[in-house]
């Protein structure tokens, strides 16, 4: 067991932790933005999956990884736009619409991938992103190689956290997003178009979710597999509650979850792991997520207008 604890402080483990946290961070930030505006996006799991698929496919055929990322973001935005249409423009149930979008995205992802690539014995792959060391910082002991010698997307994701916190807290656009999520009637009478803001928040959030998917298929792994998302989208929703809808806390939640996920991978491979069915470790992150939600949900204060469609005639 002590050998295990030693492992935790090794570069490899920390680097893995940061890698695992990145798609979660991106997805959670996207969901936070959407929910702050009052829209629950349950399409996140499907959007991440189809983002992974289009990102991979675009990269495969174009030879450019960044084009893949762009394609994933665009796909994410498109499907989020569908959700916005259903929930914001039509005022339909956010729960059911989100499930519909996830099912649609998942079905489309599988369908298009199979159509394009068929079922080859050797699944196609792309050369993944290379890591990008930051000069100077990457020479620091331990944290240097693990945090500052990562993929470009990791840096982007980490940088997005303070950016989103700043935008939400200190810009007129961010304030209007928050107001739309707290009291849309107030926003409306202040001259803000509630529908426009919600569309913007949902679609931008969807772009981030798509990027999260691209990271999975282009950086963390080098291929698209049907199970590449594996429930991370749902975990992101839990993390938003856990992070109290605040970007920095959501990052904290993502890091904690990534820690547990990286840990369970190590545990599977360790001596201890030989005696226990490996599924036990796979279950661990999900159980911890539920426990975390159980601890936090009772006192969680959601944006006041979350889940409520906005209609002008009502008060």
């Amino acid at each position: 067991m002590s050998g295990l604890i030693e492992q935790l402080f090794q570069v490899g483990f920390l680097a893995a932790l940061v890698r695992i946290a990145t798609p979660l961070t991106l997805a959670t930030l996207g969901e936070t933005l959407s929910e702050r505006a009052g829209v629950l996006n349950l399409g996140i799991e499907g959007i991440m999956l189809i983002g992974a698929m289009t990102g991979f496919s675009a990269a495969y055929f174009s030879g450019s990884l960044w084009l893949g990322v762009a394609a994933a973001i665009a796909t994410g935005m498109a499907l989020a736009a569908l959700l916005a249409l259903l929930t914001v423009s039509f005022g339909l149930s956010q729960h059911v619409s989100g499930i519909g979008v996830t099912l649609l995205s998942t079905g489309l992802a599988f369908f298009i991938y199979r159509l394009v690539f068929g079922q080859p014995s050797q699944p196609p792959s792309v050369p993944p992103f290379q890591t990008l060391p930051i000069p100077g910082l990457s020479d620091l002991p331990v944290i240097g190689p693990s945090i500052f010698n990562q993929y470009a997307l990791v840096y982007l994701a980490m940088a997005l956290v303070p950016v989103m916190a700043f935008v939400l807290g200190h810009t007129p656009w961010g304030l209007s997003v928050r107001m739309v999520g707290e009291n849309p009637h107030a926003a409306d009478s202040a001259g803000i178009s509630v529908a426009a803001r919600r569309w913007q928040a949902v679609v931008i959030g969807g772009g981030l979710m798509g990027a999260a998917g691209a990271f999975l298929s282009l950086a963390q792994f080098n291929a698209f597999t049907f199970g590449v998302v594996n429930g991370r989208g749902w975990v992101a929703i839990a993390l938003v509650v856990f992070g109290q809808w605040r970007p920095w806390r959501c990052l904290g939640g993502a890091l904690i979850f990534a820690f547990i996920d990286a840990l369970q991978l190590r545990l599977q491979a360790s001596n201890f792991g030989q005696h226990v069915p490996y599924e036990t470790f796979l279950i661990l992150p999900f159980v911890i997520t539920i426990v975390a939600m159980a601890l936090v949900s009772r006192n969680a204060i959601a944006p006041a207008a979350l889940l409520k469609p906005f209609r002008k005639e009502e008060r």
Partner: protein
């Protein structure tokens, strides 16, 4: 505004209305609920587009496309239900919707403007404080500051005194006079005659979407004249005849609860006897919600005793309250009282769902339910297509009748009624008052919680005033005046007021 018409479906909310506001005018817009006052002002503020007619500002016809447009043109509105986000700060609520500087919120300029407003009108609030922590009067002040901040010269106030104590209302009128002196135009919507006569320089009366009259010096007009223009006929208020008082039916002895939607109850003792209506006055947030929910079984008492006809109320459960013979009319009929997606018949039996004849051993008896609903609809003259009608489509008055009908069906010993006539027109209000007096005549008791002092004074035999969770004072209605009650509502004691007088 000239010839403004606004139609919603089959309902003509505003019918060719003319309205003129000059600088320095304080126009009281009077009318019953549903007369079209708020709709008209929403058209002015850009929330709705008029279907016909035109609006002229400073002589120029304009099209006000939305609220932002209205604000840009100097029209501000303070709504009845505040448009504030409780979890954001005063400053944030103020700044929302305004462009920033270099992409960021311009806090410095905001603070400077706030100081200006304080100098000019005497209105100010701490910018960092969360709106959640403000009192209702302060929240309204924030709404007014918001309008002034954006440079409004024409201010619309929708039922501004509905949530204020008499003292705060006086403060509001003072601020209005200051603004009027500076050349502002003010329109305030009200259904309270006394206020309009006190504060307005002119009053315009609406009924069923049309202008029925305009009075230049309302202070000199009589209440009856104005009332007739509002209602089209003389509806005399219900008359209360003396009735002999019986045994105590509801007793609260030194009851306390935790805070609940405002102040919790603190050492409250109250008795309602048979044949008596006890009114509870007070500004909302001073314990009325706790009192109503306590007796409804939704809130537990931490101390003290509650007895109904001698039997103690042991558990906090709605069924317990029913079992003991307490009828309940909740404050919010659409949120708490009725399930609007269900039919009228379903709502009629909701509290007695598990009892015969409506259900036996888990099985519903649809025939019995229907028969009961039909009888109730007839007895209370509920206007609806039938027992299978969807409740959501009924008017406020008919919804209230459903609540009354179902509670009174089982002849409760005591009826708890919270804001029973809120949002109802005069006809429906009179109906409700008549039923209360009828119950009283039969020797039952009523605990009436209301923010409408006129209603309390007309119906109650005794009035108790709540302040910060305690009974600040209790008196027979014959000895009560609006001034005395008003002072108790703000925490000044009756003795202090007498000493000052």
């Amino acid at each position: 505004m000239r010839g403004v018409t606004k139609v919603f479906g089959d309902v003509v909310a505003n019918d060719a209305i003319d309205l003129v506001v000059r600088p320095g005018d304080v126009v009281g817009l009077l009318g019953e609920n549903g007369a079209g006052k708020t709709t008209l002002m929403n058209v002015l503020f850009g929330v709705y587009q008029a279907d016909a007619g035109e609006i002229l500002l400073n002589g120029e016809p304009v099209r006000i496309r939305n609220s932002a447009d209205a604000l840009d043109r100097g029209i501000g509105m303070v709504h009845q239900h505040f448009h504030l986000a409780p979890r954001l700060s005063v400053l944030e609520n103020l700044l929302v919707g305004l462009p920033g500087r270099a992409g960021m919120l311009d806090r410095r300029r905001a603070l400077a403007r706030l100081d200006e407003i304080r100098r000019d009108f005497g209105l100010w609030l701490d910018p960092q404080q969360m709106v959640l922590g403000l009192s209702i009067g302060e929240q309204q002040r924030l709404e007014i500051i918001k309008a002034l901040y954006r440079g409004a010269r024409l201010l619309i106030l929708d039922e501004p005194t509905a949530v204020l104590t008499p003292t705060e209302a006086e403060g509001l009128f003072t601020a209005m006079r200051a603004m009027s002196k500076q050349g502002f135009g003010i329109v305030f919507i009200s259904h309270k005659l006394a206020e309009v006569r006190a504060a307005a320089t002119r009053c315009v009366i609406l009924r069923h979407g049309k202008v029925t009259g305009a009075i230049e010096r309302p202070a000199q007009a009589s209440n009856r004249d104005i009332a007739r223009l509002m209602c089209g006929r003389d509806i005399a208020p219900a008359e209360r005849t003396p009735v002999s008082v019986g045994d105590p039916l509801l007793e609260l002895k030194r009851v306390s609860t935790r805070a609940h939607g405002g102040a919790g109850l603190r050492d409250v003792s109250l008795t309602v006897r048979g044949g008596e209506i006890v009114g509870v006055a007070g500004v909302s947030g001073n314990g009325q919600r706790a009192l109503a929910d306590l007796l409804s079984g939704m809130l537990a008492a931490t101390d003290g005793e509650i007895r109904l006809a001698g039997s103690p109320m042991r558990r906090a459960a709605p069924r317990e309250a029913q079992r003991l013979g307490l009828g309940r009319i909740p404050e919010d009929r659409m949120k708490t009282g009725l399930v609007t997606a269900l039919t009228v018949a379903d709502n009629m039996i909701l509290p007695r769902l598990c009892e015969a004849p409506f259900s036996r051993r888990g099985w519903l008896d649809k025939k019995a339910i229907r028969a009961f609903a039909e009888e109730r609809i007839l007895a209370f003259d509920i206007r609806c297509p039938g027992p299978e009608a969807r409740t959501a489509m009924l008017s406020g008055g008919n919804l209230q009748k459903i609540l009354l009908a179902r509670e009174l069906a089982h002849d409760p010993l005591v009826l708890l009624a919270a804001q029973p006539t809120r949002g109802l027109d005069i006809g429906a209000t009179r109906f409700v008052h008549d039923r209360f007096l009828e119950m009283r005549g039969r020797g039952r008791g009523i605990l009436l919680i209301s923010e409408d002092l006129e209603e309390l004074m007309a119906l109650s035999d005794r009035i108790a005033v709540m302040y910060e969770g305690r009974i600040a004072g209790e008196m027979a209605t014959s000895e009560a005046t609006v001034e005395r009650l008003g002072l108790l509502m703000v925490g000044a004691s009756a003795e202090t007021s007498e000493r000052r007088a």
